[in-house]
Structures are given as C-alpha cells and as structure tokens.
C-alpha cells in the first residue's frame, strides 16, 4: 500500500441496503476525513477523525456513520442508502501540526450510485 486507498472503486446499490466504504492509509497520519463531491457543490465534509478513537461530524453527516479503531482505517457506513446519497466519495488524511490542519492527501474516490 502506498498512500491512501479506497474500496470499492464504484458501486451500484439498491435503496435501503447497507453499505460500507473502506479507506486505508499507510502514512501514519493522525487525521482522516470523508467528503462527498456532487456536481456544482464542491467537496463537503461528512465526518472526520482527529486521532484514532475519536470522530466528529462535518457539514453533511446525516445518514452516515464512521469509526476509527486504529490509525490506518476509517470506514464510512451508510446504514440504509437513499438515492440522494448518490455521489463520489473521497477519503483523505493529513498530519496535524502546530499550524492546524496540514496538507490533505486524497484517495482515488468511490463512485456510488443508489437506485
């Protein structure tokens, strides 16, 4: 593994189904993030984790949950998918320094379609 990886690359999901998007980084970064990207809306933060064992809500957390059991992994779960969750999902990680949030490294993204 080099950098940050996401799985699956893409997925078509029936509404009401449960889905977990996986994210793994090997850079030993403290912080990890989940964003969704929709056309014309930019990147919107769903959930974040400043360090292993802690998580927080971003701008659009409803319908999503996360966990951070260790430094490397940060899965995003959709408990019961709805069509409005159709989007491209990016996971990112960064170091945190005295100056606050550092450079964010993004994974390749997961394209999710909910029908």
């Amino acid at each position: 593994i080099a950098g940050i990886t996401q799985a699956p690359t893409s997925q078509i999901l029936a509404a009401g189904r449960r889905m977990t998007l996986r994210c793994t980084q090997d850079m030993r970064h403290n912080a990890m993030y989940w964003y969704r990207q929709d056309l014309g809306l930019g990147l919107r933060l769903i959930h974040y984790s400043n360090t292993a064992g802690t998580t927080g809500k971003g701008e659009v957390p409803d319908g999503y949950s996360v966990s951070r059991a260790n430094t490397d992994d940060f899965p995003l779960t959709l408990a019961s998918a709805v069509p409005s969750q159709t989007s491209v999902y990016f996971c990112a990680s960064s170091d945190q320094g005295l100056a606050g949030v550092g450079e964010q490294f993004f994974g390749p993204g997961t394209r999710l379609t909910v029908l």
Binding site: G42, L43, F90, A99, G100, V101, E103, Q104, P108, G109
Partner: protein, 110 residues
C-alpha cells in the same frame, strides 16, 4: 460556512494569466488550494496561514489578505497542464477541518 470562489469558470489560451479568488465571511486561520483534474482526486498545491504571506509554486502563487478574509491564486503563463478545477479550503483557528468552496473550473486551450 462555505467560502465563495470566483469566477466559477474561466477559459484561457496558453501563456495567459488568471486569478482565482476565495472569500469568507468568517475569520480565517488558513487557506489551502487544491487542483482536481477530471476523474481524479484533488491534489494539494499550497497552504497559506494568516499573516498576509504569499507563496509560490513554479508559476502558481497565492496570497492571503487577512483583513479582507480573502485569498487569491495567481496562475502565470498558463500551460495546458493547468486545466482542472481549483478548490480553496479554509479553516478557523484551532480547527483541523477544512471547508471547501464550490470550485473554479479552469480550461487552458492551445
């Protein structure tokens, strides 16, 4: 609150210059700039901290005006490889999260 980027889109010919602006109504601690090519993940360009500093990266530079709560990205003598969508991300003091703007789509044509 999401920062406001302007313009939303711009088309340039190779060799021309461009300025992309990012404004916030809230006090900012840092501004990040990222570029995303079609179908790819965003890639980091630079970070600016409050204090009005200016940074450069090849022919791409940026400034941060703390009083105006605004950052500007300057692309000089644009190349075809500069095409993509540029996003600014802002953070407040003590925060480790970024709020991104909606992006500016830059197209450089021969």
């Amino acid at each position: 609150q999401q920062p406001v980027q302007s313009p939303q889109a711009v088309i340039l010919r190779e060799g021309e210059d461009a300025v992309i602006n990012c404004s916030s109504s809230k006090a900012l601690y840092s501004v990040h700039w990222y570029r995303q090519k079609h179908g790819e993940a965003p890639v980091f360009l630079m970070i600016l901290l409050k204090g009005g500093e200016q940074k450069g990266h090849d022919k791409i530079s940026a400034s941060f005006n703390e009083k105006k709560q605004q950052s500007s990205l300057y692309l000089t003598a644009s190349q075809l490889s500069y095409s993509g969508t540029y996003f600014c991300g802002t953070s407040k003091a003590g925060s480790y999260q970024l709020t991104f703007g909606k992006g500016t789509k830059l197209s450089v044509i021969p």
